[in-house]
Symmetry: C2
């Protein structure tokens, strides 16, 4: 398959109706999501070779097309969506326009870069463990993971169904609000304020340069929003534990078990060629002691319930999307259990996953020439409020 | 594959731990749900032939096994879970012990009959459009569809992910509560009361014999529970429309679109042999005008939100699970759009599906020698309350 662009695996241009609320917008589609007549290759050549073309558009694609948007093609991703770097061993690494020497992040890498480069007005992605939020932060664009289960995943290749979501990228909050409101079937709300809870662990566990960059931003926000600090321990009630890693330790066994249940039979029977990092990721999923699963599921429900109790209808939890700007290309190891990059990313991504919460990452700061996003999370199902509040936050940052 | 029992497609007997909260219970598993080392055949021979063995237990199976329960095997179902009768063209019809001349209902047919016959203490099933609730009612056992998304569907073959759930059957409410609480990771609550909203359309749109049978039952319940009538129009606010069919008309295009997105590529590329009723069901899914999808998704969200506003934490919606006892074997047509059986069933099943609500069907009446269940629905996420309230209802009925 020729690489027509660094963001796209396959380019096309079509619309199905000439009117509708998204008629002025073009969009790109992650290669996990069906476009009728095309093989959904999941960014892995052996998957593409062994699967038939999609007979219908995924429901989310149908929604965008019926709203008048123009589809521009399929975007590159981490293989089978199991990755966070955007470095695909078969198709290369989409160029991060905001920081060309750095990875875009994944797994919805090409969707993020297509939007960041202005190649598409918005792009559909999937987010299981950060696959929209992380590349949005890395590439300096807006990205939203919705509340779990609110946007149809039919026609989207599953990874870990208990956490899988479909969401979108855009260059501005208004476009993101239009697209996500359409996908969610909610009316866009006018820009609103909200109560910001600054998650201490989320601000503490960042690199010093990131902390420094966020200081003036948070001062500015404090002038427009009621801001209070909250500790993750104040939410989950687990005294004596510091940091966020306990949330990752709950998230990860469930994610790995679900991934192996979802894709393991194909991996073991088809014996596909996998990039080395992807191969190791699947080895981890396969090797999980599944007895850990039951305790993790119980703890997930306790954490989910704690977040549900904590978050009122006007509450937002807020922290830097990631602890560091995007790593330099080629600098990340092949084993995600080595080093602290992946565990630190996954710990903060686990909060929305465990809580089934919607989360938006919006461009916030520049650290050594690379962007880092600010994340806002709201209560489960409070997606329309989150979108409107994120516009309010962006307006306060622009003042 | 030899039919060792009318309920089972494959029998086995194993446990993985000898202690745990379900150690005294045996269970059966619908052939849509993975048992490690066995092909998940989805009750269709060509699916079974063309798919590799599962490499791991589905998450829900793992939860039961780690709790000490004994797994007894895979149960028969409607092919690919796309059916409501239990009449499988390849493997036959599991015997409905409560009414041997009638269908068990599907798609989780063998799971219902295994429990009804005493062959297993509980059974796992899936419910997209009634596939637990209907056979539970037909076979005179308890069955629960949980809130959407609360029990992992990893390792469960998808049908329509926006509605798919994993739930269970049991012969009594206490066993159902134990199993479902474990799967949901909630603490079982003591038997409670609750406010019963009798859904007018649900009681009106039943056969006269069913209405007659429910009259003394509802009188008895009114002595123990605060009961009020509510119209579906009082919930959805659509004046001028009578009956429940508008809810089916919202549910069905979404279900069919999701089914075709999920299974259509396999159907079209593998060209499997399908039973005639299943073949026609897939033709309907394929033939759907997918432009209907967008309006249905918007209406689904309005209905879901209306149910969420209506249902407080102690509210239960209540109606007969189905308008008629199980049809006689062989009496149902092959085309679900002909006659009124399927539309009438689907209309009442659509309410929980659209609302993402938990629903329990519990044995309530005998109509001409065949059982019909009473259904209780609670707010999304209020599954623990629903289980405890259903015990209260059962106790009131036994008085």
């Amino acid at each position: 398959m020729p690489l027509l662009s660094r963001s796209f695996l396959a380019q096309m241009e079509f619309r199905v109706v000439a009117t509708g609320p998204l008629v002025d917008l073009s969009f790109a589609v992650k290669d996990l999501i069906d476009i009728a007549g095309h093989v959904t290759g999941c960014a892995n050549p052996d998957w593409a070779r062994s699967h038939p073309p999609a007979v219908a558009h995924a429901v989310c694609v149908e929604q965008c097309l019926q709203a008048g948007a123009v589809c521009l093609g399929k975007t590159l991703a981490d293989e089978l969506a199991f990755g966070l770097t955007g470095e695909n061993a078969f198709y290369g690494t989409p160029l991060n326009p905001a920081a060309p020497d750095r990875v875009p992040g994944g797994s919805s890498s090409g969707s993020a870069t297509a939007v960041a480069a202005g190649e598409a007005d918005f792009a559909l992605g999937t987010d299981t463990a950060g696959s929209i939020r992380l590349p949005a932060s890395n590439c300096g664009v807006w990205g939203m993971r919705p509340s779990h289960g609110r946007i149809s995943v039919a026609g989207v290749n599953p990874l870990a169904p208990g956490f899988d979501t479909v969401g979108a990228f855009a260059r501005d909050g208004e476009t993101l609000q239009r697209v996500m409101s359409l996908l969610l079937n909610v009316d866009p709300l006018p820009t609103v304020s909200g109560r910001l809870w600054l998650l201490q662990e989320g601000f503490d566990a960042v690199e010093p340069a990131v902390r420094g960059a966020f200081e003036p931003v948070m001062k500015r926000l404090a002038g427009s929003f009621p801001c209070r600090e909250i500790s993750l321990r104040g939410i989950d009630g687990e005294g004596g534990i510091s940091g966020m890693d306990n949330w990752r330790q709950v998230f990860q066994p469930i994610q790995w078990a679900e991934i192996w249940s979802t894709l393991g039979s194909w991996i073991e029977s088809a014996r596909p060629a996998l990039g080395e990092r992807t191969r190791r990721n699947f080895e981890l999923a396969k090797g999980l002691d599944r007895r850990l699963l039951v305790a993790a599921l119980a703890q997930r429900e306790r954490y989910r319930a704690a977040l549900a109790r904590f978050l009122g209808p006007e509450d937002l939890i807020c922290f830097p999307t990631v602890h560091t700007p995007a790593p330099l290309k080629g600098s990340l190891g092949l084993d995600r259990t080595q080093g602290d990059y992946f565990p630190r990313v996954l710990a903060r991504m686990a909060i929305a996953g465990i809580g089934r919460l919607p989360q938006i990452s919006l461009p916030a700061v520049d650290v050594e020439g690379a962007p880092v996003g600010l994340s806002l999370l709201a209560a489960e199902g409070n997606d329309a409020f989150l979108l409107a509040a994120a516009l309010g936050v962006a307006a306060a940052l622009d003042d």
